[in-house]
Every structure is written in C-alpha cells, then in structure tokens.
C-alpha cells in the first residue's frame, strides 16, 4: 500500500497546489488583459520592435561608439556597459577601502580603531542617495577646465571630470585586457596542474608570479605578432575641454565615489566579522609558536578569514551593481537611466523597457550565484 504514490492525501495536496497555481495564473491573466486594453486605448503597440528605431538622444559617456543616430538597442548596450564599468570600478575601490577600514577596526591601536569605527558607522548610516548628491556637488565644485588640477602631469581633474591618458586607439585597451585575462587563466591553470603533481601539499612555488607573468607576457606576445600600433595619448587642454586621453565624467566619478565609500563600510564590517570569527585558539597557537603579530595576521588569520567572507562579499558586490542604478539621480547614463529612463520616456514602452532592465539584472545575479556555487564546490569544501 505504501509503495503506491497515489493515496488520497497526495491528491488533496496536489489539488491544493493546483489551486494556488491556477489563482496565480488567473491573476496574471487579469493583469495582462488590463494592460493590453489600456495600451490599445493609449495607442501603444507592445513588443520589442522599437529597439530598432533611432534613439535620437545623446549619451555623454560611452565605452563604445555611439551617436544619437544609433538605435535604442545600441543605447541599451551603452547603458549596460556603463553599469558594468561603474560597478567594476566601485567594486575595486570599495574592496580596497573596506579592507583598510576593516583591518583598522580590529587593530589594537585604540585611536585608529575608534576613528574607523566612526567612519564606518557614519558611512553606512547615511542613505546612498545623500552620499551621491554630496559627491556630485563636490565634483562640480572642482576648478574649471582652465584651472584644472594637474595630477602628476598626466591627468587633469576639473569640473569636467578626471581626464587620464588612454590608448590612441581605444579598442586596443579592451583587447589588452582580454588577453591579460586569458594570460592569468592560463598561468593559473598551468601552475595548479604543476602543483598537484608535487608530492607535498602546500609547497612549491607560489601562484601569483605565474599569474603576473601570464597577465603581462601573453598580451605582449600577441601585440608583437599582430600589426597593432600602440600609443599613449596624453590629454591636453583645448577649446571647451581636453583633447586626447579619456575623461571620466563627474557623474561617473560621483557615482563611483558614492558607491565605493558607502559599500566600503559594509565590506569593512564583513572583514571585521570574519577576522573576529577566527577562534581565539588560533591566535594563541601562533603566539605560542613565536609568530610575530604581522605574520600571525597575514599568514594565519587572514587566510582563514577569507573563506567565510566570500558569500557576504559577493552579495555586497551584487548590491553595488544594483545600486549603480542610482546613476539616474545625477544623470549617469547606465542601464536604468538609458533604457529604463530616456528610452522609456521617448517611446512610452514602459512594460518592455522595465522588463528588459529587470531581466538584465536577473542575469547578473544568476551568473553570480552560479559562479558562487561553482566556487563553493570546487574550493570551499577542501578544508572547511
């Protein structure tokens, strides 16, 4: 009797679930009915055809070529790349700042400890939008182009943003980064293969020189065999702005700074938590073995603290990507202000535009969680 799965009970449970599903489906059906009625009343055709139309709006900062004559679809790509750019920059800076603040938070130095405590608490208890408005004000209060602050003779900081040298052919930078990445992967792969052959675990040459060599050597090699011409272009003041180099606009800078400082406070707390979660016994053991404080920290405590940090840090990174949508407040043309803002506004295709934006963010988090799972399986389970 037990082997038969279809007892009366199961049926009631199935019915119950079917009912819930049907209710949800009915709700959606109702909503869609309403929407199509409303849309036809407004004379808006649904569908994604509008993506092929001419966008007709300009975007001040773009990583790929873009003019108002391009399509809405290209404007979407520009927005997407801008989102990724500001996210990557913010992730890098937030991590740096966060780790510094976090390490200061656990330092024995009372003064530094308290100061970083104050800083962390202040940064994270003020809404991001206030950070952003403030940073934007600061960026705009920079001197005019003519009186731009000279940054080590290669960059200029003005109210037009930060202008830095860039390759004369912008595309080369992208390729260089790509080859660098490949080099790192290759170097890492070769080294780890070599190291698994060694008789003793944890010995053998360290990994990072191989990564470095890969990152530098491979792009150079490719450059040598290709006929590409590389040239640095230094910015110089000219007319209404700078010629040459690349300018990080004040909008980008403000968003970058606001996101970095705000998120740094979260990362600092994660770092502190992780370091404090290492059992006291570990400190005692290392002291009993005569390790110095610095070595204790960096060879014994930090490596142990990294593992529990990873999921939390990942979710902070995802938050950075999501929060970059605040670019809409200062007019940084990322995904939400481009497709979810101007495009939507010009075409009236609210449902399509918002769906597109949401779907894109879902993809981000899906990819991230896949990577996380992969990591947990491959590396995480080894020692813990």
């Amino acid at each position: 009797m037990r082997t038969s799965p279809l007892t009366s009970v199961r049926w009631s449970s199935v019915l119950q679930q079917a009912l819930v599903l049907a209710l949800v489906a009915a709700l959606f059906y109702w909503l869609i009915q309403n929407a199509s009625a409303n849309l036809s009343a407004l004379g808006i055709a649904s569908g994604f055809d509008f993506l092929d139309q001419r966008a007709g709006y300009a975007i001040s900062f773009s990583l790929i070529d873009y003019t108002p004559d391009d399509t809405y679809l290209r404007a979407y790509w520009v927005g997407l790349l801008n989102t990724l750019l500001v996210s990557v920059l913010s992730i890098a800076l937030a991590t740096l700042l966060g780790v510094i603040l976090g390490v200061l938070r656990v330092s024995d130095n009372w003064l530094l400890n308290r100061m970083s405590y104050l800083a962390v608490e202040f940064l994270r208890n003020v809404p991001l939008i206030v950070h952003l408005i403030w940073w934007y004000g600061l960026m705009l209060a920079m001197p005019r182009v003519r009186d731009a602050i000279d940054v080590f003779g290669v960059g200029f900081l003005s109210n037009r943003g930060l202008t830095v040298p860039w390759a004369s052919q912008g595309g080369l930078v992208g390729w260089a980064l790509l080859w660098s990445l490949l080099g790192i992967i290759l170097g890492g792969w070769l080294m780890s293969r070599y190291r698994t052959r060694l008789p003793w675990k944890g010995f053998g040459p360290p990994l990072w020189p191989a990564l470095l060599v890969g990152a530098v050597l491979l792009p150079l090699l490719v450059y040598a065999v290709s006929d590409a011409q590389w040239q640095w272009e230094l910015p110089e003041a000219k007319g209404f702005g700078f010629r040459g180099g690349i300018t990080l606009t004040p909008e980008l800078m403000a968003l970058w700074m606001a996101l970095s400082f705000y998120s740094a406070s979260y990362i600092a707390e994660i770092v502190r938590g992780a370091i404090q979660s290492v059992p006291r016994g570990q400190y005692e053991a290392s002291r009993a073995l005569g390790f110095s404080e610095t070595r204790t920290m960096f060879q014994l405590i930090v490596p142990q603290a990294i593992y529990p940090m990873i999921p939390q840090v990942t979710s902070t990174y995802l938050n950075i990507i999501k929060n970059s949508s605040l670019g809409v407040v200062v007019g940084y043309m990322e995904l939400v202000s481009a497709t979810g803002g101007t495009t939507l506004n010009q075409t009236g295709q609210a449902i399509e535009c918002i769906a597109l934006v949401m779907a894109t963010y879902c993809v981000f988090s899906l990819v991230t969680s896949l990577l996380m799972n992969f990591y947990n399986h491959r590396i995480g389970l080894r020692t813990h």
Binding site: W200, K201, F203, P279, A285, L289, S292
Partner: protein
C-alpha cells in the same frame, strides 16, 4: 606500574615561578604561586575545575600576563618586551586542549611554517625535520591531509609534532586529552609518554592519573588559585597530606566507580 625516577638535584632550573599573582578583573585567579621546575623534570598539575591550572601554565609563556611576581624561563626574566617574549615562546612548546591547528594549511605545512617563518630554517630542511617528527607521532602518511580531515586524537598528535618542530626545551600541555574519546586518549598519551622518556622538561595539566603515576616526577595539586600540595606521584596518590587533596582524589575514584 610506577617506577621510582630521579632528577638530578643539581640540574639547572628551567622555569622558576616566584610569588605569582594574577587577577582577572577583580577575580584573584592565582594567589602567590611559587614553583621551580628543573631541566628534565616532568610535572603534572591537577586540581578541580577553575582552580587556575590553565592560567598558571599559560603564564609561563605569557599567553596570559600576570600582574605581580616573577617568572624566569631558561634564565630569562619575563617582561613584556615583544622580541624577547617571542624568543622565549620559541623555546617553550605548548599543546592546547583544542589542538588549534591551522585549518587552512596541510599537516606538513602546519609543521614547517613555524620553522621557516620563525626560525629561518630552509624549506627543505624544515620539511625533513617535520617528516621525522610526524613519523615519530605515527602521522607521516597523513602529512598531505588537512586538519579538518583528521580525528581529534590525530590532530592532537600533530599539534605535538608541530610544537616539537620548534625544537623547544620545555613543553607545556593544557589538558591535551580532555576533548578526546577514550581510544584516542590512548594514542596521545603514548606519544607523551615517549616524549617524557626522552627527557623533555614537561609541565602538564591533565586528569589522566594513570599518566601521572607513570611519568611524573612531581604532581602539583592546585585549588582556588593556590598550590595546595606537591609530591612525587607514589606519595601523592597513597598518602595525600591535605584534606582538599584527599577529597579530590576520592571524587575521582568515585566518579570512576559510578561510570563503571
């Protein structure tokens, strides 16, 4: 099972503790404790829970700082100068109740890192010595594993090997077997008995009375932060002087009986 042993009365003093006082906040954890340990002497410290045994031996390598009194280890008076302190800690090995191996390093690396980082020994030499010691605690075949993959007894034996890697002149043990299952206790005690047989100076907090009988030169009984009695094991177990000691010993025996 106990044979009389003799420590050279003129052997140099390894550890001298003099009128030691230690407070945790307002709690007086060690009260005027004095103790002298000769080189090669093996001392077992016992006493009821909370009597200050751990605190005492943790003062010897300054994992706890005392407030009054002097501790001289290997001729060096302990103060809080960081360099001198590290120097002394390298010469005093310690094993903890909870092993405290470094979980992110392989067993072998656990044993070589302290050597390379703190003694400046070359990697290959450190490895050879570590493997020798792992052999000695019968853990050589596990050298490539990570601590998380081993049983408690195995971890404790590695902790002993790791401490020995620093070529210590004195070893401190803080209840090395109390977190272990009975079978594992045997493994670890065996290693400790071996070590004792080789003449290592040992200060050992433990409730394993069998071990005390077998290897200790002197048993020190502590209660409420004071040393109540110290005597060679045969005398300690057969004719304890203080009533507190008697009570403690009775309790241990009774406990054994009820468990059986």
């Amino acid at each position: 099972m106990n044979e009389p042993r003799s420590v050279d009365a003129d052997a140099p003093v390894a550890v001298r503790i003099d009128a030691l006082n230690k407070w945790y906040g307002h709690f007086h954890a060690l009260k005027n404790v004095s103790l002298e340990v000769k080189t090669g002497e093996r001392i077992v410290i016992c006493g009821p829970s909370g009597s200050g045994k751990s605190t005492l031996i943790r003062c010897v390598n300054q994992l706890e700082q005392h407030q009054e009194g002097d501790i001289v280890v290997l001729g060096q008076l302990l103060d809080d100068h960081p360099k001198r302190l590290r120097q002394i800690r390298r010469e005093v090995g310690m094993c903890f109740q909870h092993f405290n191996l470094f979980p992110h390093l392989s067993v072998l690396k656990n044993c070589t890192l302290p050597q390379t980082a703190n003694l400046g020994i070359a990697e290959s030499e450190a490895m050879a010595y570590a493997l020798k010691l792992l052999e000695r605690v019968k853990m050589r075949e596990h050298a490539n594993k990570y601590p998380g993959q081993l049983s408690g007894g195995q971890q404790q034996r590695i902790a002993i090997a790791r401490a020995l890697c620093m070529r210590p002149k004195i070893m401190l043990f803080d209840e090395p077997t109390s977190a272990l299952d009975p079978e594992m206790i045997a493994e670890v005690l065996e290693v400790m008995v071996d070590l004792a047989a080789e003449g290592m100076t040992m200060l050992c907090v433990t409730h394993e009375m069998g071990f005390a009988r077998k290897v200790a030169d002197r048993v020190v009984f502590m209660d409420q932060g004071e040393i109540v009695e110290q005597a060679p094991p045969e005398q300690f177990f057969s004719q304890p002087e203080s009533p507190r000691t008697q009570q403690f010993l009775n309790q241990i025996i009774n406990h054994g009986v009820t468990a059986g």
